[in-house]
Symmetry: C2
Subunit: 244 residues, 2 copies
């Protein structure tokens, strides 16, 4: 399934007892629809408040279900802020998370003097002058294959913190400054901490040339703050074949 959701009302992707989550809603509605216990695997475990335009999730069912009927049935039962965009059948071996070859995220800052109430759930408001040239030079420093330990929570238990950022572009869309980042995978909080660090650079609090040192430190304290969840959107998940 390809999914879009507004993350504002949810405690993130991952199922948690007594909290509204995307995975929880999907498993509940799928379970009722198929009268079977369903476990849904998502390509990315988005945090509370993070949005998705193209999350991908997979599950296994014993039933034969028409794909279009499944999409319609699920959308009829899900809240309006979670939508199934596409359903498809994949190989039994397919797993939305482990088969993902890459992802694209967008992080949005708003420079509007007054943040539009229509944009507020999707942007991090920022004040003052931003040096976008410095921000772009800093962004270039994150591109490539690096150990991103400095950009993830110090509590992260994962051993392998090496990831490749294929591209990190800074674009302007009206009042908004948008970071568009593609990579083979991202550690928890990694995009938001890159965004927070680049914002420091744009404000002149840090220099663009610091990025290699931040990465080399392999210490969370070397990087800038983790930017708020609301500004982050999982835009797309990439697979080797048209598996999903």
């Amino acid at each position: 399934m390809k999914l879009a959701y507004v993350g504002t009302r949810y405690a993130g992707w991952q199922i948690q007892p007594a909290l509204p989550t995307i995975q929880g809603h999907l498993e509940d509605r799928l379970g009722r629809l198929l009268r079977e216990k369903i476990t849904v695997f998502g390509a990315g475990r988005t945090d509370s408040g993070v949005h998705a335009l193209g999350q991908v999730a997979s599950f296994t069912t014993q039933r034969q279900v028409p794909l279009d009927g499944l999409r319609r049935g699920l959308n009829a039962r899900l809240p309006e802020d979670i939508r199934v965009l596409v359903t498809g059948q994949v190989a039994d071996s397919f797993h939305a998370r482990s088969d993902a070859q890459g992802k694209e995220y967008a992080y949005r800052f708003s420079r509007a003097e007054v943040t539009s109430p229509f944009r507020a759930p999707f942007v991090c408001p920022v004040r003052g002058r931003l040096d976008l040239d410095a921000m772009r030079r800093g962004a270039a420093g994150f591109e490539g294959r690096h150990d991103f330990t400095s950009l993830a929570p110090s509590s992260l238990e994962l051993q392998d913190r090496v990831r490749t950022i294929r591209s990190l572009r800074i674009e302007e869309e009206g009042d908004e400054v948008v970071l568009k980042v593609q990579g083979d995978g991202f550690l928890r909080h990694m995009v938001r901490t890159i965004a927070g660090t680049l914002l420091d650079i744009a404000r002149g609090v840090r220099e663009a040339g610091e990025v290699p040192r931040i990465l080399a430190a392999r210490d969370r304290r070397a990087a800038g703050p983790c930017a708020p969840a609301r500004g982050l959107t999982l835009v797309e998940v990439f697979y080797a074949e048209a598996g999903a």
Copy 2:
């Protein structure tokens, strides 16, 4: 004050006991900020679920308040889905409602097969083919000075139901069909009932040529349904001078 708001969570503009309203929030926050009982007059009494990009509201205070500080102070206290965009001082005689010379509303239909969760609060989803040429011919029939009794609730107690629609355009924005209507004033539900009637025409349920008969009937039953509130946005309020 010029205001923007997302109407989804509110029981409309007009203050009501025990219900969240835009006017209620403004009067409460202004009252606390100015330590004075404040009554706020809005240019348009938007219904529950209707949004605003450019509502205008006025009030009188005994205090001398810096205009920019007032805007900041209010925005700091208001929920994020209500924003004060601009504050200005006007003549004592100014009244946001009675001085308004005209208004612009937009009504949005979405033809997306799956309505984006990011757009759902702002559009009325429609299925099937729409004949936009017929819709445009129907729209032309509403332009001009008419008695709009057929387009307002039959319970409307107002005597004068003559209004002038200066322009009613149908535009396409991606998957969305947008009705943009400007006029000197609008009766309750008038824009939404025009939208519902034009949707009937676009679907071939009614003919574009019926519009003059619908108007001439001066009977609510002659027109189409009142389209859902969520698709409607008050875009702008016009005044003779730069009073607000």
